[in-house]
């Protein structure tokens, strides 16, 4: 299940979550872009997740960028990136 951040719902026509095919974030982002053109421009920069964003897969911040694996029952969220002190 891919959750759509509220700030992208202008592109998704208020769809807030959906099932998408994809074994990794790259495939998920392609599927998202195919359904809702314009999302990739916000999510992806070059070959990586855009600066300042992070993806959470099943509660864990993905550490392999667009190659991060996504399972058939995974929950995916897009969030602001965090660091720490």
């Amino acid at each position: 299940m891919v959750y759509i951040p509220s700030q992208w719902r202008d592109l998704t026509g208020a769809v807030d979550r959906l099932e998408l095919p994809g074994r990794n974030l790259r495939e998920i982002s392609r599927a998202l872009e195919a359904r809702f053109p314009g999302i990739a421009e916000r999510l992806v920069e070059g070959d990586a997740i855009a600066a300042g964003l992070a993806a959470s897969i099943d509660g864990a911040i993905a550490s392999r960028g667009m190659y991060s694996p996504v399972g058939p029952t995974s929950e995916v969220h897009f969030l602001p990136a965090i660091g720490g002190g």
Binding site: Q7, L43, A51, S56, A60, G83, G84, G85
Partner: protein, 754 residues
């Protein structure tokens, strides 16, 4: 708490060995950045802007260059042109043009203390004299230092190339708001309709500084062969290398960063300030250049944590169930984008199960130093707001504030407002420990006294770590790790390694490597070091164990799989060798054994804490005295309990300073008026009581020993806990930090009882 039986299965973890770098640090032998001595070293100083906002029309360095004893002068003209290049620095990315302009101002200065030029001279006194000879022609511009003023349409614009981004969506008009974050969960209107009681309050917090006692210091040598070596005080040698190389536009292979001992960081020693400047000066004069900041430079030129304006609204039903929460947060980022609003917005409701919620967060530019992370960056401000409203809600509902928190506490399965679902977490356990603590059970008597409670949360991050190890033939192991050691992590990492391998902590010799001698490792920050680098050390131990079994198999002419490891010893049938005995035989069983591991663990490990405080408020002066303080925290697993307690105590006292004293006081011209320890006034030993600690252990499912990391969570709860205690003592709800005597006195005398 951990059952006794589980605790017993560990031999090293949970004990309190003397730290490996201890003797060096109590004898004055440890080499911190400023202690470095090199032949031919010269001294650099930075000229800083006297204005909060101004155009730099011209810089004339000719007189300084001619001054006897001056060896090199640099300005923005010596920096490569960096345009709007984004560089990935491991822990997040950074706009290089901004980073570069912070290190040496380009066409504008954006805060008082902004670096404008630098020079190197034979000694620091000559360097300081010569700074006065640099002539800068400024055109002073209007400035703004309060976050809400900076958001106004008519506010002075800091950058004309910054546009508001909302999860990647870019606005069309330049603004002082680089980022807007928005989260929604459920249906906020429905949620508040279901509430019987609603509390909504506004809060303000002042900028505070990390306050590490060691000022920033770096020495650079741009060698005649083109190689740059930087000795520096940094939380992350590799991050410092990446920033230095990118700013100088040279390959990382041309830069070696040697991390010296570091005298505190708390998030403020991640961004570079001096390293590239010292390198540029060294390139010009061909000698190693050492740069040490003054305390004033540290306050005025390095990262404070954001000042903030926040509005928090929470609703609950009569029976004490939270149903809806709304937060609006504006944090200042200082002179360049990239403050800590992200984690602030993600954290504001992180302690509670909220079916309906909405959060808006704004990163806001103003004429202050670029803010940097400070221990649980963004969380302390948000918790001050949320936990105060929670307290007021409990009071209105006539429910004990601890019970109210327990009833609504986030737990395994709780969906956070920003989306993800918590795995096993320990907030409930910290609340229960608080409830059973001697402090909570004690009676607080006397006039003008009150007790407060608050909870706090920090994510605790993973990121990348590398560790390598060499087995010595006497059975000891040297361990090389990439995490700089700010608070005893050499030892907490070595202990995990020792536990896994079945040797003693003393048999491990941990060392922090430079960027040429150990694999890439992210910063010591985010409470990640004992967790992630500890995980790497555990994996190295497994790697070594595997190789040692192979060696034993050679000696015993059996298969490695037939060699058992029991209590750290290697056994096959009736044969048995201790680790040390086997280590002594490596030479003739194939040579040295070297282990290595790199990790990049996913997932925050979720650190929760609950703090209790008793205060007394002087009715005449409004001075707050902390009578008793207890910090309770889920450490997952406390590797070295003394240093876990130390983190909890240190964080609590920083939080007490934030709550009661510390602030950047700004003049109308946007100048900081209290840039010294005397006037900034951090807590001293006399300002605080003993800090009692209770370590709760709810093991982190994502770590072999259950470690969660502990460094940051303890700063989150104190301001809210103290505000709640002040309310209990005086009937006055404080909504502004710091709750210093003038501010509290004003609130008390207007009789602002709620």
């Amino acid at each position: 708490m951990t059952p006794k039986s589980e605790r017993k299965k560990y031999k090293v973890i949970g004990t309190r060995p003397i730290r490996h770098d201890g003797a060096d640090k109590v004898t004055g032998r440890a080499v911190y950045g400023a202690d470095l001595r090199l032949a031919g070293i010269v001294h650099g100083k930075i000229l800083r802007s006297p204005h909060a906002h101004a155009k730099v029309k011209s810089i004339d360095t000719s007189a300084a260059e001619k001054h006897p004893g001056v060896l090199a002068v640099v300005t923005r003209a010596d920096m490569p042109n960096l345009k709007n290049k984004i560089a990935d620095l491991g822990e997040g990315s950074v706009n290089l043009a901004h980073l570069g302009a912070n290190v040496l101002a380009h066409d504008k200065v954006l805060y008082k203390g902004h670096a404008v030029a630098a020079l190197a001279a034979v000694n620091p006194h000559v360097a300081e004299e010569a700074l006065k000879l640099i002539k800068v022609d400024y055109e002073v511009l209007p400035s703004v230092t309060w976050v809400m003023d900076a958001m106004q349409d008519d506010a002075p614009l800091l950058h004309n190339d910054v546009f508001t981004k909302s999860m990647g969506k870019r606005a069309s008009k330049p603004s002082n708001v680089p980022t807007h974050i928005h989260f929604e969960k459920g249906n906020i209107e429905e949620g508040f309709q279901a509430a019987d009681v609603i509390v909504e309050r506004e809060f303000k917090t002042a900028s505070v500084h990390q306050g590490y006692i060691e000022p920033h210091v770096s020495t650079a040598l741009w060698n005649q062969d083109g190689h740059v070596t930087v000795w520096t005080s940094t939380q992350g040698a590799f991050t410092a290398r990446a920033q230095t190389a990118e700013l100088l536009q040279i390959p990382v292979s041309q830069v070696t960063v040697v991390p010296c001992e570091i005298g505190g960081g708390f998030g403020g020693k991640i961004a570079v300030y001096l390293e590239p400047v010292a390198a540029l000066l060294s390139r010009k004069c061909g000698r190693p250049v050492k740069m040490v900041m003054t305390r004033e430079d540290v306050f005025e030129g390095t990262g404070p944590t954001p000042g903030s304006f926040m509005r928090v609204k929470l609703g609950a039903t009569k029976d004490g169930k939270l149903v809806a929460g709304e937060a609006w947060l504006a944090y200042d980022a200082g002179a360049f984008p990239g403050g800590v609003i992200g984690p602030g917005a993600m954290c504001v409701f992180s302690c509670y199960e909220l079916p309906h919620a909405k959060v808006d967060g704004y990163d806001v530019l103003d004429n202050k130093p670029k803010t940097q992370a400070y221990r649980a960056p963004g969380a302390t401000q948000a918790a001050f707001a949320c936990e105060t409203v929670i307290d007021e809600l409990a009071e209105k509902l006539k429910i004990d504030p601890l019970e109210f928190r327990l009833k609504n506490a986030a737990k395994e399965g709780t969906r956070r407002v920003d989306g993800p679902v918590y795995p096993r977490v320990g907030l409930v356990e910290t609340l229960e420990a608080a409830k059973n603590s001697p402090h909570w059970k004690s009676k607080l008597e006397g006039k003008h006294r009150g007790r407060g409670i608050a909870s706090g949360y920090w994510f605790n991050i993973g990121l990348k770590s590398s560790v390598a190890a060499n087995v010595n033939n006497d059975g000891t192991v040297s361990l090389i790790e990439g995490s700089t050691d700010i608070g005893g992590t050499r030892t907490s990492i070595a202990m995990q390694f020792a536990e896994t391998l079945g040797i003693t902590a003393e048999a491990v010799h941990p060392r922090v490597g430079d960027t040429d001698s150990v694999g890439y490792t992210d910063v010591t920050g985010g409470s990640r070091t004992t967790f992630a680098t500890g995980l790497a050390a555990h994996e190295v131990a497994l790697d070594i164990q595997r190789q040692m079994r192979e060696r034993a198999a050679i000696l015993w002419e059996c298969e490695a799989s037939q060699v058992q490891v029991e209590d750290g010893a290697y056994c096959h049938k009736d044969k048995k060798l201790t680790f040390a005995e086997l280590a002594g035989q490596l030479g003739h069983t194939g040579g040295p054994v070297v282990g290595r591991a790199t990790v990049s663990p996913e997932g925050a490990s979720n650190g929760f804490g609950t703090h209790l405080v008793d205060v007394e408020v002087d009715p005449d002066t409004a001075k707050v005295t902390i009578l008793r303080y207890t910090a309770i925290q889920d450490a997952g697993r406390a590797i070295h309990p003394s240093y876990v307690e130390g983190q909890m105590q240190g964080g609590a006292v920083q939080g007490i300073g934030w709550a009661l004293n510390e602030e950047y006081v700004y003049s109308d011209q946007g100048r900081m008026e209290n840039a010294s320890y005397l006037d900034y006034r951090m807590p001293t030993a006399l300002d605080v009581p003993a800090i009692e600690t209770i370590i709760v252990e709810v093991p982190n499912p994502a770590h072999p020993y259950g470690v969660r990391g502990v460094g940051e969570t303890p700063i989150v709860a104190p301001p809210a806990a103290i505000a709640n205690a002040i309310y209990a003592a005086t009937g006055v709800r404080m909504t502004e930090l710091p709750m210093s005597p003038p501010r509290l006195w004003a609130a008390m005398s207007t009789g602002k009882k709620s």
